[in-house]
Symmetry: C2
Subunit: 729 residues, 2 copies
C-alpha cells in the first residue's frame, strides 16, 4: 500500500490569500463590479489541446454575443512562452478540438458555412477542410430537426464526432442519417409519443472508418436511442489491429444492454468483445499496472485502487475526491504506460483537481481553485490547464505534474478577470437526518458586520462548485449581481449520495427502480433531507447574525426547481421563490413518468398512492406555501402550470413566464441560449426578490405591466412583501 | 296562424320504393358491390352555384386520389338542360364557389400554383385570376404553419374568404398575416400552451374591402381567436351604404363577447351596430315579414315562427325539423323579400330538406332522401340541389320550390351510383331514461331471415343521417363493407338534446358551464343514457332474431370514441370495440380540460371528486371492460394511451396505433386525409372485428406482425374471441 501525498499548488500565490470559512473581505483587484451583461458573457472554456511540440495550446471559449443576441464560441491559440493569444475562429458552435497525432496541427468541428465538418488548423494557423460529409442533417430543438440532446440550437451536421488513431493515420467519425419512414406505430411506440412537444425526425447515427489510404467505409449504424453514439462518439479505443467502440441498446420493453465491439482495420470485420468495463459512457485509462482505476468505499472510507484482471487490489490510499465525474478535467495515460493522470472532483469543498498515479503512489494536485480542462504531453511531464473558481475568472496555466507546479500564463477574459472578486466561502451544512450538504456562501459586496442581510439560496443538484459563473448551475439567477445588490447568496448542493449507502440506495431506486425502498423513504432522502439542509444553512446564517430571517428566498431550475417547489410547501422559512423550467413531482404527469413516479409515490395518483402525492406534490400542498413563486419556463411544462394554478387558487402570489425561442419553430432551451432572454430573466429575478423580500417597488421592472399585477397580488394575499426596515440594506 | 303543408317530393319515383322500418331488400340497380376503395373515393359535394342565367350550375366535389395518395377536389360544371358535365379544375382544395352577382361568371378559391387565390370562371369556362393577395401564409396542422381548424393539410393562403356585394361591384375578402412577435408569455397565456403538440405560428386575419374602382383597403384586423373570422369570413351582409360583419372576442379571462360592426362604403368609417342576433356564427335571412326566423319549443311542440322587431310572433305551425343546423343546405331570400328558403334537418329520421316560407305559410320540402347543397335563382322560383342518402349516391337535381318539384339531372359519380344499394332503415331507440336516440339499421347484403348475424354499432354524436358515405360520420369504419361481409351495422346517434330541456341543460352545463346540474347527472344524461340507447338498439335486434348476442361490437371516433370507451366499461353486451382518435374523460387530462371536467366530474381527480371519475373514466374501470379495444389515432392523445395501458394492465386485449402524417413535420388529421391511411385503418377494423367477434384468423391482416400478438392476447386473456358457430355467417 502506498500513501497519498497531498500537494497544494503553489503556482499562483494569490489564491492562498482567499480565506475560507470566515467573513474577511477579499482584496479587490480593481473597483470593477458585476453587471448582468458580465454574467451573460462569462467565458467557459470547453476544449483545450496542446500542439505537437507543446509550444502552443488551442482552446475553445463559449460565451455570448449580446449584439447579435446569440451564443458564440471562439477558437483561440496561445503561445505558452509569452502568453500571446490570437482568435482563429468565431462560430456559433465549435467543438471536438484535438491535436492531430504525429503532427503539429489541431483538428476541430465547426460550421464554416457547409454544416458542421472537420477542419484542420495548421501550425501557421491556416484552416482547411480535413473531412466533409454530406448530406447534412439538421439537429436541435426546432421543428423539422432531429433532437440530439447535446445540441440545443439548430445546427446542420455533416460530422457529429470523430477520433484519430494514435498514429494519426486512421479516422473514426460519425454522421447522422434521418429516417424517412412513414410507418404506423403500435403500442409502446405510441406511448413514447405521450406529451411530446415539437415531434422530431428520427435519425440513425452512422459510424465511418477512414483508412490510411483515405477511403471511408460505413462500419456500423446505431439507432437514436444509443446515447453512447449520440453523445460520446462510441467511446473509441484503438489497438494495433482494431478500433473498439461501445453500443447501448435500449429496447422499449426490457433492460438496457451494453456491448463493446471491435472493427478489424484490415478488413472491417466486426466482432463482439468479451470484456465490459463498469461505466459504459466513459472509459478511464488503465492504471500504471494495467489494471482498472476506481474508488471503493463511501464517505471518509473512500480509497483509490487499481483492480487487476485477476481481481487483486492495489491500494493508493484514502481520497476525498471522485475520479469518474464527467465534469472533471479528463484522463491521460503516459506513452510508456507507467503513469496516469485523472481529473478529480472533491466532495466537501466541491472543486476540480488532478491526481497523478505512478507505479508506487498517487499525488493529488489541488488548490482552492479548480483545474477544469487540461491537456498533457505524451510523457505527462508537461501540461496546460484552465484554472478557475466561483469568484476567480478562468485563466490558462501551465502544469508540471511531477512537481505539482502550476504557473499562470494568461487570463481567458481580461474583462472578467478585472472584476473585483466577490467574497466566497465554502461550507457544509447537515440535514436533519445528518447528511452533509456542501455549498458556498457568497457575501454581499460591502458586507458590514452587525447588519442582517436578505438571503437567497441557489441550488441545482451537485453543481455548486468552484467553476466560474456557470449557466449550468446558476441559470438565470444572477448570483454575482445579487451579491452586488446586498444579498447573501447561498449556493447549496443536495446531500451527495456518494457519501451514504442509504442515500445511494434512494437515488438508485429513483433512477433505475432497483431495490425496494418504500416511497416515503425515497421522498425523505431525496427531497426532504435536502429541504432540511437548506433550513440548516439559513438557520446557521441567522444564528451568526448575518441574515434577516424575514427576508429569505430560494431559487433553482430543473432539479433545483423540484427543491424550490418542495421547500416552499414544506418549510416555513422562505418568503419567496423562483422556480426555473421544472415541474416534476406533480401528479398529472404520472402517465409520462410512471417508472420514476412509482419509486417516489408507489403508484398512480388515481389509486391509494394519492396519499404519497399529498405528502410531497407541490400543487397538492399549495395552500401551505410560505411565499410567492415565480416560474420562468423554456417550455410550458404541465407540472409548473399545475403548481402555478394551485398557488393562485390558494391566493398565493405566483407568476409563470414562457420565454420565447429564436422563432416560432423552436423553443428556448432548458439552459437558456438566447442572451436577451437570459438578461430579461435575470432582471426579473432581481426585481421579484427585491419586491417580495425587500418590499421594494420594482423600479427597473423588465416587464412594466407586471408591477401592478404583483402589487395587486400582494394586497389581496395574506402573504405580503416584507416591510422595509429602515436600518437594513 | 298559418299551417304547414308537408309535401313529399315527387321528382324521383325510385325513392318511394325504399321502405322504412321493415326488412324488405332494396332493388339492386346492378350487382356492383362496395369495396374499401369505393368508400375512400366516395364523392362529397361541398359547393354548388347556379350561373346568372340559371342554365348551368358549377359544383365542387371532394374525393380522394388513391394513386397520388391525397385528397382531391374537382370543380365541375353541368348543363342543366341536358345533364352534360365537364371538369374544369382539379386541385387539392377548392372552396368558396359563388356566382358573381350581375354576371354569368362564377368565382372560386383555389390554389393554381400561387397559393389560394380568387379565380373567376367565365361563361366560356375560361379561368383567370380575379384577385391575388401576397404574401402567402402557410396554414394547416404542420410544423411552421398557422393552425386554422378548418384546414387540415398544409396550404399556402393568399385569400382566406370573400364576399361579393349584391351588385357584384364591391368585394370583401380576408387574408392571413402571421405574427412574428417573440414576446414573453405570462400566466394564462402559458397555461394555454399546456399539452400543445406542434406549436403553431399565431396569425391575424385581415379584412379588406375592394371598392368599385378596384382599390383595396384594410378595414379590420382580427385575432386568431375570432372564430367568425377564421371560419365564416365575418358573416358579411351588405346594405346600400355599408358592409356589416361580426366579431368574436374571447378574452383569456372573462366571457366571450360578440359584436356586429358596419364599414361605411363611402369612407371606410367603422361603427358598432346596436342589433345583435341570436346566433353569431350564422345569420339566417329575415322572414317574409322582415322578422327573425326561429323555432320555439322542444320536441313535438316545436314551432316555426317569425319574430318581429317589436317581439310579436308569427306562427308558421309545428315542425319536426330544425332550421339552424350548419349541415343543412343553406338559406336564401327572394329579391323582393316576400319569400325565404331555409335548409332543414329532421330529428326523427335524420335527413335534410328545405322549407319555403311565404307571407302566409311555410311549405316543407322533404323526402326520404336529403337535399344537402342547393342554390336558387334570385326569385327563388328555380334551383339546383344535391340529393343523396345513406345508401343513395349524390346526384344533381332541379328544384321548383313552389311546386316542391324535384327532377333528377345527373349522378355526381356514375361509379358510385352504379353500386347496388344497401338496405338501410331508419329507426329510433329509447334510452333507459326514455330519451329517444335516432339512427339507422344497415342490413347485411344477403340477409336471410332466421339467421342471427354479428353486429357493429357505429356512432358519432348526431352525424348518423341521410348523407352518403361521409367520412365525418363513419370515419375509418367501413359501414358498407361490413354490410357486404355479413354484419348488421347500426348507426346510432346520441339522444338529441334538442328534444328535452333536461338533456339541453346537461349539454349547456358541459359546453359552457352554465347551470348547476350535479356531475353525476351530467354523466348520466350525456354518456350513460347514450349507452342505454345502444343497449336498447342491440336488445331490439336480438329480440327480433336478427343479431347474435355473442357477436356485438361498437366503433366510434372523437365523440364516438367517448361513447365506445364508456360503453365497453359500463355495459356487458359488447364483445369488441374500435375507438378512434379520442381519449376524453381520462383523469390525467384534468389540467388541460378543467372547465369541462369540472362540469362532468365536479373538480380535480386529486381531491374528493375522484369518486366521480371512478364512476365514468374508462381507464379507472378497465378491469370491468367487456371486450378488447382497438385505438386508431391521428395524434398520440394521452387519454387513449391511459386507457390502452389500463386495459393491458387488466389483461384485456387492446392495441393502440398511431397513423403517420404526410411527413415527419405533420400528423394525420383528426378525420384522416391520407387515402392509404384510411384504407389501412378500414382493413384493420374489418380484421379486428372479424377476429374478436367471428373468431376468424385475419387472413388479410394489413399489419401481418399483429396477428400473432392478437392471438397471444386472446390466449392469455379471459376475454376470448367468440367461437365460430357453423350455421352462422
Amino acid at each position: 500500500m502506498v500513501m497519498i501525498r497531498q500537494w497544494v499548488a503553489t503556482g499562483f500565490a494569490g489564491i492562498l490569500a482567499i480565506s475560507m470559512g470566515s467573513a474577511v473581505q477579499s482584496q479587490p483587484k480593481t473597483e470593477a463590479r458585476w453587471t448582468i451583461e458580465d454574467i451573460v458573457t462569462a467565458p467557459e472554456v470547453t476544449d483545450i489541446a496542446l500542439n505537437g511540440t507543446a509550444t502552443r495550446a488551442a482552446y475553445v471559449v463559449k460565451t455570448a454575443d449580446i449584439g447579435r443576441d446569440r451564443p458564440i464560441a471562439t477558437l483561440n491559440v496561445i503561445n505558452l512562452h509569452d502568453g500571446q493569444k490570437k482568435v482563429l475562429l468565431r462560430d456559433r458552435i465549435i467543438s471536438g478540438l484535438r491535436m492531430v497525432p504525429g503532427t503539429n496541427d489541431w483538428s476541430v468541428l465547426a460550421d464554416l458555412g457547409a454544416g458542421q465538418q472537420l477542419y484542420r488548423i495548421g501550425a501557421d494557423f491556416s484552416i482547411r477542410v480535413e473531412l466533409a460529409h454530406r448530406p447534412l442533417a439538421r439537429v436541435g430543438v426546432s421543428d423539422g430537426s432531429t433532437n440530439f440532446g447535446s445540441l440545443d440550437m439548430p445546427l446542420d451536421v455533416g460530422i457529429l464526432s470523430y477520433a484519430w488513431s494514435p498514429d494519426g493515420k486512421w479516422l473514426w467519425y460519425s454522421s447522422i442519417r434521418p429516417r424517412i419512414s412513414r410507418a404506423v406505430l403500435f403500442d409502446t411506440e405510441v406511448a413514447h409519443q405521450l406529451g411530446v412537444r415539437r415531434p422530431q425526425k428520427s435519425a440513425d447515427i452512422i459510424y465511418h472508418l477512414r483508412s490510411i489510404d483515405g477511403v471511408a467505409n460505413e462500419v456500423a449504424v446505431r439507432p437514436p436511442t444509443d446515447r453512447i453514439a449520440q453523445f460520446f462518439g462510441g467511446t473509441v479505443a484503438w489497438t494495433g489491429e482494431e478500433v473498439q467502440f461501445s453500443i447501448e441498446d435500449r429496447p422499449s420493453d426490457g433492460p438496457i444492454r451494453y456491448e463493446r465491439r471491435g472493427v478489424r482495420l484490415s478488413d472491417r470485420l466486426v466482432r463482439v468483445l468479451a470484456d465490459w468495463p463498469a461505466s459504459p459512457f466513459a472509459r478511464l485509462p488503465p492504471g500504471p499496472h494495467g489494471g482498472r482505476l476506481t474508488t471503493l468505499g463511501i464517505g471518509h472510507a473512500r480509497k483509490l485502487v487499481e483492480v487487476s484482471e485477476t481481481r487483486t487490489l492495489r491500494d493508493y490510499g484514502k481520497v476525498d475526491f471522485l475520479i469518474d465525474d464527467p465534469r472533471s478535467a479528463g484522463s491521460w495515460r503516459s506513452r510508456d504506460g507507467n503513469a496516469t493522470i485523472l481529473g478529480t472532483r472533491y466532495l466537501e469543498h466541491p472543486r476540480y483537481g488532478l491526481v497523478l498515479i505512478n507505479k508506487n503512489q498517487a499525488h493529488a494536485i489541488s488548490s482552492n481553485l479548480s483545474l477544469t480542462k487540461c491537456d498533457f504531453t505524451p510523457d505527462l511531464k508537461r501540461g496546460v490547464c484552465i484554472r478557475e473558481s466561483l469568484s476567480h475568472a478562468p485563466e490558462i496555466v501551465s502544469v508540471r505534474p511531477d512537481e505539482a507546479k502550476i504557473d499562470f500564463i494568461a487570463a481567458v477574459s481580461d474583462h472578467h478577470s478585472a472584476i473585483s472578486e466577490l467574497q466566497t466561502t465554502p461550507a457544509t451544512w447537515n440535514s436533519r437526518g445528518g447528511y452533509p450538504a456542501s455549498g458556498f456562501v457568497v457575501w454581499p459586496r460591502h458586507y458590514r458586520p452587525g447588519i442582517r442581510y436578505p438571503a437567497v439560496i441557489v441550488t441545482h443538484g451537485s453543481d455548486a462548485d468552484e467553476r466560474f459563473c456557470r449557466d449550468g448551475f446558476q441559470w438565470n439567477y444572477p448570483v454575482q449581481f445579487f451579491a452586488e445588490q446586498g444579498y447573501f447568496v447561498l449556493l447549496v448542493n443536495d446531500p451527495t449520495p456518494s457519501q451514504s449507502a442509504r442515500l445511494s440506495a434512494a437515488y438508485a431506486r429513483w433512477g433505475s427502480g432497483t431495490g425496494d425502498l418504500p416511497a416515503a423513504e425515497v421522498q425523505q432522502l431525496i427531497w426532504l433531507e435536502g429541504v432540511g439542509a437548506f433550513e440548516a444553512a439559513i438557520t446557521q446564517m441567522i444564528e451568526q447574525g448575518l441574515v434577516d430571517p424575514d427576508r429569505v428566498g430560494i431559487a433553482g431550475y430543473s432539479r433545483g426547481s423540484q427543491m424550490a417547489n418542495v421547500t416552499m410547501t414544506q418549510s416555513t422559512m422562505f418568503r419567496a421563490a423562483s422556480s426555473g423550467d421544472g415541474g416534476y413531482l406533480e401528479p398529472s404527469a404520472y402517465p409520462r413518468l410512471m417508472k420514476s413516479y412509482d419509486a417516489i409515490f408507489g403508484g398512480s395518483p388515481f389509486g391509494p398512492a394519492i396519499e404519497n402525492y399529498r405528502r410531497l406534490s407541490p400543487s397538492l400542498r399549495a395552500d401551505k406555501a410560505s411565499g410567492p413563486v415565480l416560474f420562468q419556463m423554456a417550455t410550458p411544462q404541465g407540472g409548473a402550470i399545475d403548481f402555478y394554478r394551485a398557488l393562485r387558487a390558494a391566493n398565493i402570489p405566483a407568476q409563470i413566464d414562457l420565454y420565447p425561442g429564436r422563432d416560432s419553430s423552436s423553443d428556448e432551451a432548458h439552459i437558456f441560449t438566447i442572451p436577451s432572454n437570459r438578461m430579461l430573466a435575470m432582471r426579473e429575478n432581481i426585481v421579484w426578490f427585491d419586491f417580495w423580500l425587500k418590499g421594494k417597488a420594482p423600479a427597473q421592472q423588465p416587464f412594466p405591466d407586471r408591477g401592478a399585477i404583483w402589487s395587486e397580488m400582494a394586497t389581496s394575499s395574506p402573504l405580503r412583501p416584507a416591510e422595509i426596515n429602515g436600518s437594513t440594506p
